[in-house]
Every structure is written in structure tokens, then in C-alpha cells.
Homo-oligomer: 559 residues x 2
Amino acid sequence: MAEYKTDIEIARAANKKPIQQIGEKLGIPLEDLVPYGHDKAKISADFIARQKDRADGKLILVTAINPTPAGEGKTTTTVGLGDGLNRIGKKAMICIREASLGPNFGMKGGAAGGGMAQVVPMEEMNLHFTGDFHAITSAHNLLSAMIDNHIYWGNELEIDARRIVWRRVMDMNDRALRDIVVNLGGVANGFPRQTGFDITVASEVMAILCLARDLEDLQQRLGSIVVAYRRDKTPIYCRDIKADGAMTVLLKDAMQPNLVQTMENNPAFVHGGPFANIAHGCNSVVATTTALKLADYVVTEAGFGADLGAEKFFDIKCRKAGLKPDAAVIVATVRAMKMNGGIKKDDLGPENVAAVEKGCANLGRHVQNVKKFGVPVVVAINHFVTDTEAEVQAVKDYVATLGAEAILCKHWAQGSAGIEDLAHKVVELAESGQAQFAPLYPDEMPLFDKIETIAKSIYHAGEVIAEKSVREQLRQWETQGYGKLPICMAKTQYSFSTDPNLRGAPSGHTVPVREVRLSAGAGFIVVITGEIMTMPGLPRTPSSEKICLNDKGQIEGLF
Amino acid sequence: MAEYKTDIEIARAANKKPIQQIGEKLGIPLEDLVPYGHDKAKISADFIARQKDRADGKLILVTAINPTPAGEGKTTTTVGLGDGLNRIGKKAMICIREASLGPNFGMKGGAAGGGMAQVVPMEEMNLHFTGDFHAITSAHNLLSAMIDNHIYWGNELEIDARRIVWRRVMDMNDRALRDIVVNLGGVANGFPRQTGFDITVASEVMAILCLARDLEDLQQRLGSIVVAYRRDKTPIYCRDIKADGAMTVLLKDAMQPNLVQTMENNPAFVHGGPFANIAHGCNSVVATTTALKLADYVVTEAGFGADLGAEKFFDIKCRKAGLKPDAAVIVATVRAMKMNGGIKKDDLGPENVAAVEKGCANLGRHVQNVKKFGVPVVVAINHFVTDTEAEVQAVKDYVATLGAEAILCKHWAQGSAGIEDLAHKVVELAESGQAQFAPLYPDEMPLFDKIETIAKSIYHAGEVIAEKSVREQLRQWETQGYGKLPICMAKTQYSFSTDPNLRGAPSGHTVPVREVRLSAGAGFIVVITGEIMTMPGLPRTPSSEKICLNDKGQIEGLF
């Protein structure tokens, strides 16, 4: 009967175990498990440091086709696969991202998975959780306040107030703050200038927290943030403002991974949540590397489709953290194949094998792309009740032509029992020793060539175009020593091209680079190829108008 | 040797017990104690509701003379007295306010008490603690975002954008945000208007959280916030914007009191922290009323000196929550008496009985004022090592002439052993049945008369002056049904007058009312008599420049 309940109803009915018992399974002593309520905990930095000589488990990436309005179920499959691996006797953990608070008040909040494959407690994970994002907001805005304060007291560093690139952040959808003038009110308040707020997940502090190995590395990276430039265009760093120490103090607890559980009581780290366009879109390195010490299998996911998410996971996170993924799962659905085959959302009901076959081109491109990183691939067909056998078979047949396998998974309805086949296949791939992971491009490649490599190899673009000023900026950064950084592409998630309406597997398109940004602390160059919104707005009727506590003290309207 | 250690060194050496053990002493079952780490916990709303039929303990207010740069030690005495009452066999609890995060990065952070009379863990209490202030920031700013969003989508409520009184908040000292223009950037972003940020503790949401009885009352009060006016000056409420439900959801956990412990392992609630000028400056009603159910003695404090803090505690918090204090302790020091007697801070060393005697007038005024509320008073002389016997005796002799007793307390150096005499005296007063608590003025008195009553009766002012527009505004609120609200005076804390340099016990001065503000959700009228800064700035060399983690992972520079 699970099909007739909503995700939140299923999640509320979960038979949760005390978080101490979940930690015990992983061998975490009580004193190293820092509880936040009865069902959430942080893992102490001290415990993490003590695991460093242990062998690593196998790392499995769950990625997906380009998202469609039909829904793919990447997180659901990540959770389901973790449960499935535990079910077949493996010691497995899940590592996923934290949700952002602000967007929940615009549209309904996101579940962590769905159906019988969820991480709980869902409400807390969509609200304040363990306070990580609030800590990031505080650390980010402390630096902002210290920059304006520096100018106020005489501007010894000679900051060019027109060239301050460090804005402020808030975990709220508030378009009124996108573009503002601060420091009004005369002598007591400062020197007026134009700036704005981004949403917290867009903060470079978020990306840094998710890439830092430990607190020392965190402070080092925070110190390296470029906050402004002088009139002569030389950069001014966070450490020039002397904010890096206090920011590290504010982030001390936020750096510790959060332990929660799946509905089947298996352990999950939910930690960090950087934007998947102007940042790399993966959960924290600390969570992933710690999980690899504690479990034999770690299932993690990357944001958006494989063209953006998996590429960044491999080229940024794995490269920086020295991770070597052992297998990748690409999630697809029959419905999404049909949409890629040209069918509209309202017409997805009737069987349409031809549309499925046509839409498979998108899936095929992703399978081939992931293989370019030397990682063996399996396709998970996330089952929907309307799928017909012939449609499912069409996907399987197509994937077989690529030398890979597509496996039907029913974890949404059945939990781990519905995903055993995929779990066995993942174990087979991971144990086979097939994986020969290598990033797409070497550190030494010039920055513009890196962009071209991603665009041509992954997106199958014909060319990359950019204004002279963009190319000059890239060369300047190379001169300043940033040439070895990887590229973080900000592109629409809906297409291999920069046109969100171009589904399937387009080729030969042009990728126009509008802007490039340096994230010197996080350690990547952001390349922007379209409109990127870093502060969302609320819709005409925001979901917050309906959110409330009911008579039982439960939250209504959030899901 | 304790005298030679800093507060933070003493606090770090505290022999803390697991918070579950502290809760057990109060009879809180494990499932109702929501842990935040090993030494902090929230008490479930469900448990609190179940205590409603239990008898109340005795309520003791700790207040003080007007603060001087010499330091008085109000919180230290609150903590010491709580420990002292436990030492003499009473079941006692402490209720104090939470610290604000932002100011710690300007000046050094505040301890929760001092010496051997502290509440721990000090670091966490000065950083994110259990996230209450972050939740308040989120709830406040959600309402702000929804107001601008309402205008953006057509302004059905006909909000006059020039008359939006609801600003935004951040828990940061950031003067750049005091006065800003938002909604720049054209059609996609909104209608430009001038506004600003206050620090989170100045938010009306903070005052509301601290005065609400339960979640239902909280939502009711949030809904009653006046956020803006129309062109015809009719008010627009938070509930018109439909933000009250979602704000309540965001504040659900923040409404639960935080349990920590003193260094002597006695229970303390640290919950809420409204400004003591534009708000009432007391810890939450929920914490105090819950503590009264769990302990036989509850020791709490109010902000600033008794002229502001005790008056608001009695006239706002006690009036609204139906609390009946049984005794009050007024904290004084020999050094502060000398400063009130005209001695400069650098000259406080040598014995000066005459200056002590002269300065006692300030103390005497406070003793007499507190008695006006029908609450028996004892004076605590918080001992400093430089105090001479003759100076202490001078204070005792003076207080005896007022029909009260002054007791020397050495809790800073000795903990509870140094404050037994005061504890016995407090028990004697509380058990005596002397207390006949009544607020200073009735609800029905006209608003301007209430202001005059406070100014003349408590400050000994000669007159209250105000522009015609101020008097008209008060009359308008009376017409709108706000006439029964109590007054929340925003006045300098350093003097009975509005001149911060006028120490001692001045009389006949003029109190000029600059501005009045309606806090309809909190339920009081704010009367501003001087410059009130609701968003602090950072100093030339902010303490944040020196804050960092040391090799042991301890926080340096915060204290």
C-alpha cells in the first residue's frame, strides 16, 4: 500500500533507531558521536583523524541523465542502492548533500529520496538540521562585515570599493536583496557602494567546506579567497582582512559530517550542499573520505545530470581529494526517455516504445562520457508503475549495444528488496578491478583548453566562443598562478548544450562563455555559459503561506 | 589559586556531567531531553505541557545598580546564588539569557558568569549554541522576503512601500547594513526602496519568542506584528502576509528552553536574549515558567540596572506571564559605589570610605524602587580583592538605614561556599510571605501617563517632554486598541536620567521622548529617549582578527 502514501507520510512512519545505535554499527564510540536530538549526530573531528590509516572501501557514484520534468530519482536510487548493498550483506554507507532552507518557502521542500528509499528525519533535514548552513552564512557574512569595516576605518589595504567581489549571503529566497546599495546614512555608516546577497548554497565558503580535508585545510582555503582588487587589479585575500581564523572557528562544528539513517536503519552522511552550477555540487570530502574508512561500500551522488554533476565529481572533487571511484550508476527512467524522445509531460501515460528508443540517445551519451573517466558503468532504470515491459526492454536493449547493462530497480515501492540486482551488479563492477579512474584533463592544460576539452568531449560541442576580455582574464589568472585549477562549468542542467530546450544528444553546438569567476579558496575557475541565478525569488503564492504546525505539532505544507 | 586563572581557563577545567544526568536531577525523562552535543539539551514542548498542574517554586530576581566600568557581576551573582541555594539544600535552578553571536567578533565575548560562578560550556554559548538565534534570524527574514514578494507580485494588500516598518536582521555587527536600498536591478528584482538590517537580538521575533507561553501563543503573537501601513495609515499585519505559520515552524525548536549546567553541576536554563532597550531584556517566559515547575527556587536576572531591567521584568514579563517574584537581589560592588561617588576608574585602588558612602545613593534609589513593586529586597555586595573592611561596612550600614540588609558574597573566588549567607537570606525573604507583587501601573492607564509614571516614580524625573506627533501617535494607538499595552523604555543604562554621565541618584531631570514604536506582537510600546543603536559596528581592530583555533583545537581570542 506504500504507493498510496506520500513521502512524508512514509518517512514519519519510519521505525527509526537511536542514532547511537547507527553509530555503533560503524564502530563510532559514544563520546565521538555528538548528538543533535535523538536521530541526528555529528562525528567528532578527533575520531575522523584516528581513522586515517584504515583501508578505504569502494566508492560508487550515482549520477543521471539530464533531468526532465518527468523526474529521474537520483537520490532515491542512491538511498535504495545503499540499502540494497546492506541487504546483500555488504557494509555500505550513503553520502548525500544537505538541503537548503530558503527554497522550501518558495516551492515545496525536497525529500531525501522517495517512497521506501528515504533518509530520515525528513523535516529536520529540510529545516535547520544541525545548523551547518547557518554557520556558513555567519562565516561568510563576518568576512563581508570585516571588509566594509576595513574601508570604514581608513582602508589601509587600498581596496577599490568598486572591485569588491565578496557579497553577502542569506539562506532565503529573497530577490529584493539581489542588487542593493549599502553603507548609506552618512559618516557613521560608511561609504555607499553597490553589492548584493546570494543564497547561502552559492557561497564560496560552502564550496570550501565541501572540499577541505580538515580544519587546517579549511582555514588555508578560506584565507585564499579573493575578496576584492586594488586599483592596480592586484587581489586582496581573506587573510589580508584577517577573517580566516574567526571563520574557521565559526565553521568548526559544521565541518563534522552529519550522521542520519535510511528508513531501513542503514547509516547515511548528509553533509554540505554547494550549488551544482557555480560550484561543484557534491557532498563534503570529509564525509566521503570518512565514510570510505567506516564502510566497505560508499554510495554517493553528484548534482544535475552526468554532463555537469559527474564531470565535476570526477574533475574537481575526486581530483582534489584523491578519490578513485570504483563504479558509476546512471539513473534513467522510461518516462524521461520518452520526454527526451520528444513526448510532452501530459502524454507520458500510453506505451510508446519508439519514443523511448529515440530518447535513449541522451542516456547513451552519458554512459559513454562516464566511461571516458575510466569508471565502469551500470544503468539503473528507476521503475514507475506506468512503465510497460516493452518500454523497459527497449532501454535494456539499447544499453546492451553500448557494452553496458541496464537493470530495472523497484526500490521506490519495495525498498532494498527491489534493488538487489543492481546491488549485485555494482559489487561485481567494483570488485572486477576494471576501474582505471583518471580526470578528463591534466592540471597543466591551459584554462581555455580545459573549457574546450569539457565542451567538446562531454557536451559534444563544436566550438567554445568567448569575448577577448574573458580570454585575457583567464591568461591573467594563469600568470597569477591559478592556471592549474580545474574548471567548474555553469551550464543549464537540462541539455548537453547551453539551450535548455535541446533534449536528446545534440552535437556540434556552440558554447558561449559569458563570464569567468575565480574561486581561489575552493580551488576552481567558474565558467558561466548562461543566466545563472544565485539568489532565487519566491513565486506568486509561496509555499510558506501554507506551512504551519497542525494539532499534533506536525509540520504541514512543507512537503 | 583560582584568582590567577581567566574565566575561560576555569570554565574549561570544569568537571561537567553529561547533560542527561543534569536533566535527571530535574526529573526529565531521556526521551524529553533533546541533546545538542553532550553538554547541552533542549526540553521537549510535550514535557513542558505535562508539568502544568505542578506547584510553582519561588522566583528570585537578581538585578543591579546602574552599570559602571568597574563591573558589578550580575550574572556571576545569579549563577553563584543558584549554586548557593543548592548548597544549602534547596532544589534551585538558574534562568539566564543567551549571548548574541555578532558582538563577539567586535569586542571579546561575554562569559556566562565569572570565576567559580559560571555556566558552561562557555564557548558554545558564545557561538552557535543550539541555533535559537539563527532560527529567529530565519523567521524574521522570511517575513521580510514575503513582504517584498507580495509587492513584487502586484501588492494586493496596498502596502505603502514608504511605510514598511519591518526591516531585516543578521546576527553580526555590520554597520554597512544599517541603511540600505534594496530591490535594485530593474523589473526582475522589484521596486527600489530604502530599508536596513538590525542585529538579531533587536528583532521583535526575539521579544515575541521570549514572551510567548507556547507555540500557539507564539503564532498568535507573530501574526499580530505590524509590518507596514497603507496610504491611509491602516496597519498591515504579519498574518495578512500569511507568514505566521511558516515562522512558527521555523521557531518550533527554538521555543524549547536550553538546559546547561553551572560549574557545580547545577541546572541552568539559558534561553532567549532580547535587547534590554528596545525590548524587555529577560530570558524566555517558557524557560522561567518551566523552571518554576521543576525547582523550588528559580534565580533569574534582568538586563542593565534595576531602573530599566527590573522595571521591565516586573511591568512587562511578570505582568504578561502572571509571574509573582518572591524576592529580589540587588548586586552592588564597593568599586561601583566609589565610581558613583565620583572616583575615576584608575583611582579605585586606595581605600575611600567617603566616596563609597557618597555613591551609595545610587544603590539606595534602586532598593527603594524595587520595594515599590512589593518585592522584598536584599543587597549582594559582590566582593573584589581590593575591597577593605571599612568600605564593605559602609555599604552595609547604608543599606541598613533603608530597612534592608547587604551581604558580602565571595562566590567569584569560592563558588557556592562564598555565597551561603545570601542564599539563607533569600530563602528567609522568599518564605516570609512578605512579597505582595504588583506592577507599577495598571493596564488601563493612558499610555503617556504610564511613561510619566515610570519616569517620575523610578527615575525621579521632573517631567516628560514629547513632540505633539509623539503624543498623537500614542493616542492613535489607544484608539486602535493598543492602549492597554505596557511601556518598554529605551533609555541609557548608565544613569537614572537620560544623560549617561550623570551617576548617583539625580532628581528633577527632564526625560525627552524622541520616538515611540509599536511592538504589537511582543505586546509593548517602545519609548525611545536617546540614541538607540540597533545594528552595532565593528571597532578599528575587531576581536575577530585574533580569533582562531589553537593546536589543541581550542578557541583562542574569543574571550
